[in-house]
Symmetry: C2
Subunit: 444 residues, 2 copies
């Protein structure tokens, strides 16, 4: 069983509603939009991510023979539904912001228009795919903004929420500007550069720390980064200096050391001095150990001689905001706009477009969310990417998306780059959209 | 590609270390233990979960042809490593606490003893599997403890961190005492009871709320739970009452309603009155919408007439503690105990056992962590479950594990049941273990 591709990775109510829609012949086009209701407390902006996986999912969406048999045997579903699911393919349209685009609350980043049962059935997984990568890319971008160009590496797999989270976090953080990941499968799946050093267990498995370093260097002569905090960090740095001479004679260069505990700035200064005085000015220092954007910022500001940072758990799990307040809402059915008016959860109806305006052609000034047919000057952010179930173009590729994300981050006004909350970015709801909402309210 | 079963779902350094171990002929038995260093701020205990998935993983651990080819083409790895990976099977032993067992920091819940390269290579995924389900089960148990017997249902898939997280959160929460889940694949994979109602989109796709309710009821006559907060909750409750008479004539009973927004206690009271006065005293009220254990407790204490709770995002993402400070550490190699002494991260060396003691044969009194050969009276918590790569028994099954978890929760002293932090449970490190640590320190 592969949960990543199973069509049964959905909520039961999606199947129940599909059954009711089919019984009533309700298969007119339904328009659902995915958006975030409000920013997490610690975010000033979000970065759209996960579209590629949504398009893969929709393209390959099938109920397998085994799944259909299980549904049938559960006795809960009509033969009409089961027949429908057996033949089911996604035949709808998708419009979306490109991955890497900065966006804000109330702005749809993805729209699906498809026969109602289809658009309903994909809800759970589409939300699951978009919300996770968007959350991680948005968190990772904060480290990128404060790292001052120093490379950041994803070390989060071990505490990610399962297999797919580990893999997708590597992708989302690379998209947001990380230099690479330790997760090997992300290298194979997405051609993301891989980074690796050694664990404390490697040192402990040897009786002698220097022997451990030597064994490691001999096995990976082109990629020697040594973990030096297993017992005494500065003593280990001294061992590295001594070993470097021996290795040099064999043509092996020590690329760097990793610090993983204690006062990282203080250790980095002492270790830098030991390495420099020992003739290893080019050996780099990588810092790891419960890092997040706040600690990266503090270390950068302290001018600690750290060359790169490994960021793991806090980024991969988005520890200060482990979910997005996101929604996938029906905004139009059979050509008729609709909206939800639940307390505190009302939505803007109809098919929408988002326009973005820059100040001095440089930094974000404001966005306008309006109805789709209210064409404004400026740059519309949502593009048609899938038509009648088929992609309109090849995937842009992760490198291109990464450049797009970097360009987008370059457009952030300095206030929004802050790690601390600042006044919200100006997202305007157009008069046309407000008027449509009133029309819908009067009808209901 | 199935990330859940790929052997490449590991950190690059595991492969690098394995290459170095093989080059040095270091394939003696290595003993790694998985434990939690300290409790998250908001937890008083943890519940072990995920062992079944670890044993599945170890049993099926293979590098595929495609993965081996990719590793080879990367040019980073020795032919010795590639040959080794091609033939690789897990041949080690596993000892573990049964899933559903309550445990505390410094207590190993899983031990792997295997040739060093094997025990090293599985590190990333073993941690990933154990830490996620343990975290979710531990969070879910808190809702179970305050719900006063009312059924709890997992609604978290859409904001879970990817596919596997959604699936495993359903399993872990059911293990901890939830009544079921909305995630269909968890029904198929683990026979977990499924629950489902309807979404706001179903109501919105109809021009008339009553017609929506009627269509839903006709399509699912045995499972009619209606979502009544799309526009006006109490007005919708009135529509439910009127509709109930029509449906009754057709032999359809309305099982209940769902509230998803606003002041849930206030709405529940008003709706309960409307349903009772309308002749529907048996119709149940399900509450959902950003619930967590704190809100469930408040609603239960308010005596709001809510019959069951759907808990989603907060539980599935363990929002107040999105990771565990856990470790998988080498404690012995080739019969020689070892320990890590990094600042703030020192570990207890050697092969260990945990003994548990009850007060008055009823509630937890204290635990003792000691060396494996220091046999104490009382109940040892770790059992041998895999020998030479083979399971010693069939999986106990989720129902049995769920009963074990319930019995364990029944042994919690009332202080530890609190949602607020209380003084830590008494976990004692035996003199034998302290003495071993000193011996190791003297050696190093």
């Amino acid at each position: 069983m592969n949960p990543s591709t199973s069509a049964l990775l959905t909520d039961l109510y999606e199947l129940m509603m599909a059954q009711a829609y089919l019984k009533q012949g309700m298969d007119e086009p339904a328009l659902f939009e995915f958006f975030v209701r409000k920013l997490p407390e610690h975010r000033n902006f979000l970065i759209a991510a996960g579209l590629e996986q949504v398009l893969d999912y929709l393209s390959e969406w099938r109920f397998s023979r085994e799944e259909l048999t299980w549904l049938d045997q559960s006795g809960q579903f009509s033969s009409q539904l089961l027949d429908y699911l057996e033949r089911l393919r996604f035949t709808g349209d998708v419009e979306a912001m490109p991955e890497g685009t900065i966006f804000f609350p109330q702005e749809p980043i993805l729209r699906i228009v498809a026969p109602l049962p289809q658009a309903q059935l994909v809800e759970s997984r589409v939300m699951n795919l978009l919300s996770f990568q968007t959350m991680v890319a948005s968190k990772a971008a904060r480290s990128v903004l404060v790292a001052g160009g120093r490379p950041l590496i994803d070390f989060g797999l071990r505490r990610a929420h399962g297999a797919e989270a580990g893999l997708f976090a590597a992708r989302a953080s690379y998209l947001a500007g990380f230099a690479g990941t330790a997760t090997v499968l992300a290298g194979m799946a997405y051609q993301i550069p891989l980074y690796g050093t050694m664990a404390h267990s490697f040192v402990q498995a040897h009786e002698d720390e220097t022997v451990a370093f030597e064994h490691f260097a001999e096995a990976q002569p082109d990629n020697v980064v040594l973990l030096i905090d297993s017992y005494d960090t500065e003593a280990a740095a001294g061992k590295v200096v001594s070993l470097a001479r021996t290795l040099q004679a064999r043509g092996i260069t020590i690329k760097g050391v990793r610090l993983d505990s204690g006062d990282l700035a203080d250790h980095a200064r002492k270790v830098r001095r030991i390495l420099n005085e020992g003739g290893l000015p080019h050996a780099q220092i990588l810092a790891s150990g419960n890092l997040d954007e706040y600690r990266v910022k503090a270390l950068v500001e302290s001018a600690a001689p750290i060359d790169s940072f490994a960021v793991g758990t806090a980024m991969t799990t988005s520890s200060d905001a482990s979910s997005l307040d996101c929604a996938y809402k029906l905004q139009e059915y059979a050509g008729r706009p609709c909206r939800k008016r639940s307390e505190g959860k009302a939505t803007w109806p109809g098919r929408k477009q988002v326009y973005r305006y820059l100040a001095d052609d440089e930094h974000l000034s404001h966005d306008i969310v309006t109805t789709h047919n209210d064409q404004l000057p400026g740059e519309p952010l949502l593009d048609l990417v899938m038509k009648n179930g088929r992609r309109l173009a090849h995937s842009p590729g992760l490198s291109e998306l990464r450049r797009h994300a970097a360009a987008q981050l370059g457009q952030l006004p300095s206030a929004l780059q802050s790690l601390e909350p600042v006044p919200a970015y100006d997202v305007r709801i157009s008069l046309a959209l407000q008027s449509l909402a009133q029309t819908v309210d009067r009808r209901l």
